[in-house]
Amino acid sequence: MSLDTETVRRIAYLARVQIPEAELEPLAGELNNILGWIEQLSEVNTDDVEPMTSVADMDMYKRADAVTDGDCREAVLANAPDGKGAFFTVPKVVE
């Protein structure tokens, strides 16, 4: 599998990272080098092997289903780069 610049442009959009047009091709080269190196995993026989989803051999700890937090609007908003009053703001999304 090899990435072309069009695929890199699509991944950049999915990741919401602006990549200048001139950097798409060099980036495709870098990513292809890494993916080519990763390709060696195809040598490993993984028939009947379960994918590891959790490294710890234990049941997930579950706390009581109770409200333990809240009433902290100011703390939540304290770091907003463009907070207004009780709100986060974003560029206009509804015309």
Binding site: L3, L27, T46, P51, P91
Partner: protein, 491 residues
């Protein structure tokens, strides 16, 4: 008497208990050392006011007989990946500009509650992605170890600021975090002890996330005993992290019996790799001899999937990172770069806020998780990860601990390995397998390279058996008797 900042935690604790020194004197010596070593760039943020205030509080507790444990009054540096209440937390990334958490990470809160004194926040590779502390937005950290060639050496990474802080005696100890080797490899490069606990031993709550199935907090210290003391404070179950293990902590320090007679130490043949300097193989052999001399039994073992660990890691960790780093959207915290639409604002913010290596890993991660490639890359990597963990399970039927080199080279010069990402990734070839299997590992300084730079050996233990790992590492430390100091610091 040597300056107080050169003490270990254990030594300082004895002097504090005996009333020979105060926490304020101890802290002031560290702050003075930090001020004199600013050209090393070990810290992103220094917190002298907080440090002196907590030191005074510690002295007051001691005066009234209310000391809260062996970390009380001990000045430590925190990696800038730990969220600290009211103190700038950056993960050494531009995208966290101005981020001042409203809360304290569980691990740093544990240390604070046990009386440890925060000196400041240490520099690191951006979002813990790197092995040399050269991807920091705040510039590289220098290793106190140098050679006569006039070049600065990297301290390793990603916890390189913490490694330098300990190696240069700017603090008595430091916290690190380790995803694929980010505590152990810098410990090896800097001649200190660096310990990654079993996955689940320390809470991840309040750590800036990189790869959640791998990230672990751990201590970076001047001795194995100090690592045991500090881990005791950092670790423990936390209801706020569902992957934190709900099991009681053993007494780690009590495990340091000095006796490894009959202990079985595994030597994995797959850790002999192409291009590794001969001196590292020789040091590894010496390490095995030290264990044999102390009465342990050396056992040859095989971990057949070792060579697949790095490529597996470079699917799983970028995949998790691309998901975790989706939160940096310019809306809720940190940097924001405007755009004409919401999507443009996101893309502009993330383009300016993330450095080259972070962007690269987000791209890889997004790709391997994208429709059509998920099974071929991500699920395949999860399956190989299972095979790697099974290798260790099988080996631990025959041995109690595993001995390996920590890193395939001594510290390299700042600026090297910058154009080839894969060459940089290879730094973690010996640390990543245990990370993927969730196992505890510790790097112990064991010798010097021919040129005069420190080299570490790694002891890997069974899951949740840090005690045996510490016991072995403590004996290795005693046998290796590493006393060398960086050139500028020989008294």
């Amino acid at each position: 008497m040597a300056a107080l900042n050169e003490l270990t935690i254990a030594e300082a604790g004895r002097k504090l208990d005996a009333g020979e020194i105060s926490a304020q004197e101890l802290t002031q010596d560290c702050l003075d050392a930090m001020a004199a070593a600013r050209d090393m760039n070990a810290f992103v943020t220094e917190t002298p006011e907080i440090a002196l205030e907590r030191a005074a509080a510690s002295d007051a507790r001691r005066a009234s007989g209310d000391t809260v444990g062996p970390m009380d009054g001990i000045p430590v540096a925190l990696k800038d990946l730990y969220c600290t209440e009211g103190v700038l937390t950056t993960a050494s990334s531009h995208i966290l500009d101005g981020f001042i958490p409203e809360y304290e990470s569980t691990v740093s809160a544990n240390l604070r509650d046990d009386g440890a004194i925060m000196l400041g926040k240490t520099n690191m590779d951006e979002f813990a992605m790197g092995s040399a502390t050269v991807t920091s937005y705040y510039g590289p950290t220098k290793n106190p170890w140098t050679l006569d060639d006039g070049k600065d050496r990297v301290p390793g990474g990603s916890s390189g600021g913490s490694a330098t802080a300990v190696a240069a005696h700017l603090g008595l100890a430091a916290t690190g975090t380790d995803t694929g080797g980010s505590i152990r490899q810098p410990a090896s490069f800097s001649g200190i002890v660096g310990m990654k606990p079993t996955y689940g031993r320390c809470s991840r709550w309040g750590l800036v996330a990189y790869a959640s199935s791998l990230d672990q907090a751990g201590p970076m210290t001047k001795s194995v005993e100090d690592a045991a003391i500090m881990l005791q404070s950092m670790a423990g179950h936390d209801p706020k992290d569902t992957t934190s293990a709900p099991i009681d902590l053993p007494d780690f320090r009590a495990a340091l019996t000095g006796d490894v007679r009959g202990l079985k130490v595994g030597i994995p043949k797959e850790y002999v790799i192409d291009g590794m300097p001969e001196e590292i193989g020789a040091l590894w052999k010496q390490g095995a001899e030290m264990f044999r001399d102390a009465g342990a039994e050396i056992v040859d073992i095989s971990l057949p999937h070792t060579s697949y660990a790095l490529p597996t890691y470079y699917i799983i960790s970028p995949a998790e990172a691309s998901s975790n780093l989706a939160r940096y959207d310019g809306v809720r915290f940190g940097l924001r770069v405007d755009g004409d639409s919401l999507d443009e604002m996101y893309a502009n913010t993330r383009a300016e806020g993330f450095g080259t290596e972070v962007r690269r890993r987000i791209m890889i991660g997004t790709y391997v998780l994208s429709a059509g490639y998920y099974d071929a890359y991500y699920v395949k990597a999860q399956k190989v990860r299972t095979r790697i963990a099974q290798d260790f399970d099988a080996a631990f039927n025959d041995v109690d601990v595993i001995l390996t080199p920590t890193a395939p080279s001594p510290a390299f010069a700042v600026g090297e390995k910058m154009d080839d990402p894969i060459a940089m990734y290879l730094n973690d070839v010996f640390t990543v397998p245990a990370s993927l299997a969730g196992l505890p590992g510790v790097s112990v300084p064991a010798g010097l390279s021919a040129e005069g730079l420190p080299l570490g050996l790694q002891v890997i233990g069974r899951a949740f058996d840090e005690e045996t790992m510490f016991r072995a590492a403590h004996v290795l430390e005693r046998q290796a008797a590493f006393t060398a100091k960086p050139a500028g610091m020989r008294g």
